[in-house]
Assembly symmetry: C2
Homo-oligomer: 443 residues x 2
């Protein structure tokens, strides 16, 4: 056998965690899921493998190059590279069976076979929500989306964050009014880089596009409007821009900002940011980015926006939508590296039962009773020295240990030890459970 | 655009669900996960794509044919076809960083590119638990595994079930004693078919293997030993078999059956079944199958056993283990088809807030309050007639609706309607929450 052994390893660009990190990852995953569900989003689980023809209906260029694509039998297949295309396909395929507005979440792995670089993954989780309307979709949803983001990141408790919102109609209308509608995508690309390359370089690049100084000044005035949300809205209203699209965008922005407060979003957690455009071509209304105040270098940790038509590549029905995505694998890896989150335990058990030289039956019944009380219980079965077993409990980071020796069996008790404080006391199992629950409630 | 539209569809053999079924599926998935975690199993999430060399270290024949395999750049890649091989690779790769015994669960999709037939899937969830020891693994784990199965299927509440246990040492030792050790795998294959093809055909096939009548009689006596667990153990002990392996197996079976009672497993839920062998070559001790009493035709819904060495293809360390797997996608599809489970709701929301011609702010604050109370709340934002909105609530199967009109805004109340009973009452939000929680607690 030995000479044929294969070196156990995985591909670069794939994240695989040790138990302590996996527990931490799952806690974040579960929190996001809980918040998504609390807003009534419905679960969706599409196949990882789809027909290339279906998956690549829209894609081109870079996406196609990155995709994992292969044949099996007569089928030309590909692994999904995001969750939006499968959603579009699903909604188009099942539109007659779905109830609109259709609110769905999907938190699954997607695949991009790109050259792996620091912080980039070939397999990663996206945690998406989208709301799809039939023909129309109420503007209130534009405020619900940031309310979900707000609740997610408050619950994750990874520090102060800011939700940046903008509206593509404001941007597009503004540039139309300047007669620059044909350069919009170039200009937006430059504006997007404002924080990265600075004001002077943006101006230089705008000039290189052939835009005259007067218009550049107007652009720079516009994108650097400052103050409170109310002041920014006021300034946008007062701009000498005669363009219906622009005005509609400003009205939308004002309405959405108002609703956001009704959703309970603290004002210090969101800002109108006129430099936010989102690269993708299909956003048409409200757009979002989210940054961590203490870690702006991480970039946007949650982005998205409103689009006019999700399913145009599959159906003639008009299905406008709005959604956001959290790239969880990347976010997790960044948060870990920045020391913002830290794994603490290599065990999920609340209590580790340690039988010491006794008949196993009593220990098993104790463990069963702990689980019946809704706690997680593990038992160390092997006959080993007390010291060895305590070391095992320490290594796993189990919060409570219930030692059971001959004495405990005879008195129908356990020796309960709080591993953090070192305190221990002989208790019957019901009292022990009460004590554990009391102490857990305090933390 | 229209002329280029692609027909939205997925591959055959892939399960994709509508929301009501997905909610049901997730409830089963979550229940299994909760039970696994309650026994201290740790989460693991390995990549879907692995290097073919690593994934196929052991595989051969049928497995290789079914695999999704492809190249990307210089890499020969494959999609995982089960969760056991990735576990072996993971444990071998990280043995220095893991704490043994290592208890892990993984509930993920695996891929088999076989020709799809009824009830077979090319992409399906496996829900696995395994416990891996370093050099040795206590026999108590052989009873813990069925305790987990017992708790899973009790909690799933899909009717009476039976956990069949056997021990490969009993089987192997018995056949060694008959001098049939070289035909063991053929004989076991036949015995495995007892229920399917019947006693007479098994006897015929055993004779075709060249086994004489006397031995065939002994074999049939052996595999049809009946009675209670205690009676079966007694009968096994009294068999005139002088073989150490056999005796060790019987002792193990007796010990494991005893512990199973200590784990709280009701005796009517398990049976010693000497016909259970499990096809795979690597099981060496206790083996399990689980059948639904009212739906035996579904076959085993949860199977597994003990093996001597998980990681021999990757490392010289000896790592014995024990584990079981639930093929959830198949099980779900079978349970649905047999009418054992039924989807009820197309919504996760506990309460749907319906604002009727009012300023949205009040409704949003009510919804926010509902979520703060730990309930799931959705809001119907579009301006539509009451009738239309109620129909929407009905279609989704939301249990409670909170209607808010001008009157409710002025009196700071909601009109709470229980959609099941039709009862409605005007309540302030705190009283409404109390009422909902009271009624939910009653169900």
């Amino acid at each position: 056998m030995a000479e044929n052994r294969i070196k156990p390893r995985i591909l670069t660009g794939f994240m695989e965690l040790l138990p302590a990190d996996q527990i931490l990852f799952n806690r974040i995953y579960d929190t996001i899921r809980e918040v998504y569900e609390s807003f009534g989003f419905l679960p969706l689980d599409t196949p990882v493998i789809e027909l290339s023809e279906v998956l690549l209906a829209k894609a081109g260029g870079e996406t196609e190059k990155q995709i994992y694509r292969f044949t099996k039998g007569d089928n030309d297949l590909a692994l999904r590279f995001d969750l939006t295309v499968p959603l579009a396909r699903y909604v188009a395929q099942h539109s007659g069976e779905l109830t609109f507005p259709f609110k769905r979440y999907q938190m699954s792995k997607v695949y991009r076979g790109e050259r792996p670089q620091k912080g980039r993954f070939r397999e990663f989780y996206q945690c998406d929500i989208d709301i799809i309307g039939n023909e129309e979709l109420d503007l209130t949803y534009d405020a619900e989306i940031p309310a979900v983001i707000y609740n997610v990141f408050r619950r994750l408790d990874i520090g102060k964050f800011t939700i940046h919102i903008n509206n593509r109609r404001v941007l597009n209308g503004f540039f139309e009014a300047l007669g620059l509608e044909n350069s919009i995508s170039d200009i937006l690309r430059n504006i997007d880089k404002l924080e990265k390359i600075g004001r002077e370089n943006v101006i230089k690049e705008l000039a290189e596009l052939g835009i005259d100084d007067e218009k550049i000044n107007k652009i720079m005035d516009f994108i650097t409007i400052s103050g409170t949300t109310e002041q920014k809205i006021e300034a946008l209203k007062n701009m000498p821009i005669e363009n219906e699209r622009y005005k509609e965008g400003v009205r939308e922005l004002e309405t959405v900002a108002g609703y956001m407060a009704d959703f309970g979003i603290d004002k210090s957690y969101f800002t109108i940011d006129l430099t936010i455009a989102r690269g993708l071509d299909y956003y048409t209304g409200t757009v979002y980015e989210t940054t961590l105040d203490e870690h702006k270098g991480l970039g946007s940790v949650c982005s998205g926006g409103r689009y006019d038509n999700l399913t145009e590549y599959y159906t003639s029905s008009k299905l406008p939508g709005i959604g956001i995505s959290i790239g969880l694998t990347r976010l997790f890896s960044q948060l870990k590296e920045a020391g913002i989150i830290e794994s603490r335990r290599s065990s999920l058990a609340d209590v580790l039962v340690l039988p010491m030289g006794i008949d196993m039956g009593y220990a098993l019944r104790i463990a069963e009773r702990i689980r019946q009380a809704g706690l997680k219980a593990d038992v160390y079965y092997a006959q080993r020295a007390m010291k060895h077993k305590m070391k095992y409990a320490d290594k796993l980071g189990v919060p409570y240990v219930a030692v059971i020796g001959e004495n405990e069996v005879q008195t129908d008790t356990v020796m309960l030890k709080n591993m953090a404080t070192g305190e221990q006391s002989a208790l019957d199992i019901e009292s022990a459970l009460k004590e554990i629950k009391k102490q857990m409630g305090e933390n």
